[in-house]
């Protein structure tokens, strides 16, 4: 049944157009440090506009507006979800940020899957293809993000074996088969309905088995990829309602997420396929080369070395984040600067558990933006650097990536700290890094180890430097 177009309908569509423009402008502004915060507000305003106009003006195919009783339920759910989301987002520690983004992405995926599931049983919905695609993609994004969360939080260990790759291909084939079966066969609706639940279950399983074998070090790439999936799933749901704001917003985020994923892969010098299928971690014994001896350094010696050098570069890694050492690190930096030492931070594109993770943490500790130097810019200066302090980073400074073709990380660009005059590595113990690869940097002649929790070590260093 079609009803005459009213002014409300026109205003609604126009507001969707505005929302889509707000999303694009928002993301554009978000990609520049100067305007990023404004960009986020633009995107949020676009969303608010679309929500309000939908609530007030949306009419179904019979021309009915949203009733008051339904309105109460909608507002209740929004207020509840909103308060909870805002509270979690405000309270969470900066170090747990990647986990939180995974959780939010999982809930977006779940919402898309639920909408698709309900709409499949709606007889007025004629686009079964997009509905099912939304269901599959949304479910994969949901369960995959939950596994990514578990890995980032250290609750789930990597599970890799060759056969899992084949199992995954098999599940994927199963999903395609079910999709085609439901779409083209002439079976009764009840049977299809049951098959759709099977499809939902298989998709959820696929999300798990897809992320399970991917190494924890690659989680940033996975989250970005799943983020792109969530966008696409939302766009599919948008097709069901012929809703331009959903279609445009979803596809736009899907494309943006995809390019961000590829940029991250590029930063690690690996292809997306290699990340998804390639084995990472464990195994890769590599050539057995001559290990030197590990040499420790005392806190006092380290303090003297730092205080009397002219150029110091700090290489932060996940260890800094885990130890919550960003503030004390910034304090040491300020002390050294006051004593005439030039201090810079070398940021590897995939340091931490998320690209830009280190930047966010250091910004929280009031480290000026200009002091954070990207890998490619700082590498040529390494031979001129007196002391490099590696705080809880491992794989991103492993020289095996440059010269050991048998190493699993061979070819990944690294920060060439081994070229500096002296290297101090702060580490809890001699354990291997996230990718579980031996690091020959620790045995090099110009390397000294400072064992202990990064925060404690830095605290002691600060005390020593003050005493000098």
């Amino acid at each position: 049944m079609t009803t005459a177009i009213t002014n409300g309908d026109i205003i609604l569509e126009f507001s969707y157009l505005l929302s889509a423009i707000f999303f694009v402008v928002g993301l554009k502004l978000l990609s520049n440090p100067e305007t990023a915060r404004r960009g986020n507000l633009w995107a949020a305003s676009g969303m608010l506009l679309a929500m309000i106009t939908t609530i007030v003006l949306h009419r179904n195919a019979d021309g009915e507006s949203i009733r008051v009783a339904n309105l109460v339920i909608i507002l209740g759910a929004i207020v509840l979800g909103g308060i909870f989301g805002a509270l979690v987002a405000r309270r969470i520690k900066m170090t747990a940020m990647p986990q939180l983004v995974s959780i939010f992405n999982a809930s977006g995926g779940a919402a898309s899957a639920l909408v698709a599931l309900i709409e499949f049983s709606n007889p007025e919905n004629e686009s079964a293809l997009v509905t099912l695609l939304g269901l599959v993609i949304g479910s994969i994004a949901f369960s995959g993000s939950m596994i990514a969360y578990g890995k980032l939080d250290g609750r789930i260990k990597d599970l890799f074996s060759r056969w899992l790759t084949y199992v995954n291909l098999l599940i994927l084939a199963g999903i395609l088969f079910l999709l085609v079966l439901v779409l083209v066969s002439g079976m009764p609706f009840e049977t299809k309905q049951t098959l759709v639940y099977v499809l939902l279950a298989v998709s959820l399983v696929y999300g798990v088995s897809f992320v399970m074998p991917i190494g924890g070090a690659d989680m940033p790439v996975v989250i970005s990829l799943l983020n792109s999936f969530t966008g696409i799933a939302a766009a599919m749901a948008g097709f069901i309602y012929q809703n331009q704001a959903m279609i445009l917003g979803g596809i736009f985020v899907g494309a943006a997420g995809m390019i961000l994923t590829l940029l991250m892969c590029k930063a690690m010098n690996r292809s997306l396929i290699n990340v998804i299928i390639g084995a990472f971690g464990g195994g890769g014994a590599g050539v057995d080369r001559e290990k030197g001896i590990v040499k420790e350094i005392s806190v006092t010696d380290a303090a003297v070395m730092l205080n009397y050098s002219s150029r110091v570069v700090i290489v932060p890694g996940y260890g800094l984040a885990v130890a919550q050492a960003q503030h004390i690190c910034s304090e040491m930096d300020q002390l050294l600067e006051a004593n005439g030492v030039e201090v810079k931070y070398a940021i590897h594109p995939v340091a931490g558990r998320m690209p830009g993770h280190m930047n966010v943490l250091l910004a929280e500790a009031d480290v000026p933006y200009e002091k954070l130097v990207e890998m490619d810019e700082i590498n040529p200066d390494m031979p001129k650097t007196d002391v490099v302090v590696v705080i809880g980073a491992n794989d991103v400074v492993n020289p095996a990536a440059l010269d050991d073709p048998s190493s699993p990380i061979y070819g990944m660009p690294i920060i060439k700290v081994h070229e500096a005059k002296n290297v101090i590595v702060m580490k809890r113990g001699m354990g291997k890094g996230y990718a579980a690869i031996e690091n020959y940097l620790f045995y090099a002649d110009n390397t000294r180890m400072l064992f202990g929790n990064a925060k404690d070590s830095l605290q002691k260093l600060v005390t020593e430097i003050k005493a000098l």
């Binding site: 978000l30 979800g81 990647p98 983004v101 930047n359 933006y369």
Partner: protein, 109 residues
């Protein structure tokens, strides 16, 4: 196959827009300093919560008078969950992105 072609034809305007939107998305993001990857991912994630509109439409037009009929009640409950999850994604996403970016701003003084 015929279904897919039919789908393409009846949605051709939208599909044109989608093709262009993909290029727009690639173009807007392709030149981003890695400093901003995390906030950008988080902001994009919040936008993907646009599925919340679907949740509003679903719950908004649910027939509250005939809940006992068929799977109406189940659908309403699932719809409310979709709305809850969507809001969590949208509000949480924008708030956390703002929190990250707030820090970038502070140090500039």
């Amino acid at each position: 196959m015929e279904g897919i072609l039919q789908f393409f034809f009846s949605n051709k305007e939208t599909i044109f827009i989608i093709a262009l939107t993909i290029f727009l998305g690639l173009e807007v993001i392709s030149n981003v300093p890695s400093v901003l990857h995390t906030p950008l991912m988080s902001g994009a994630n919040a936008i993907s919560g646009v599925i919340i509109i679907g949740g509003i439409i679903l719950v908004g037009h649910a027939d509250l008078a005939n809940l006992s009929e068929g799977s109406h009640l189940l659908n309403l409950v699932l719809g409310i969950f979709a709305l809850l999850f969507g809001t969590l994604n949208v509000i949480g996403g924008f708030v956390v992105t703002d929190r990250m970016l707030e820090m970038f701003k502070k140090k500039k003084k």
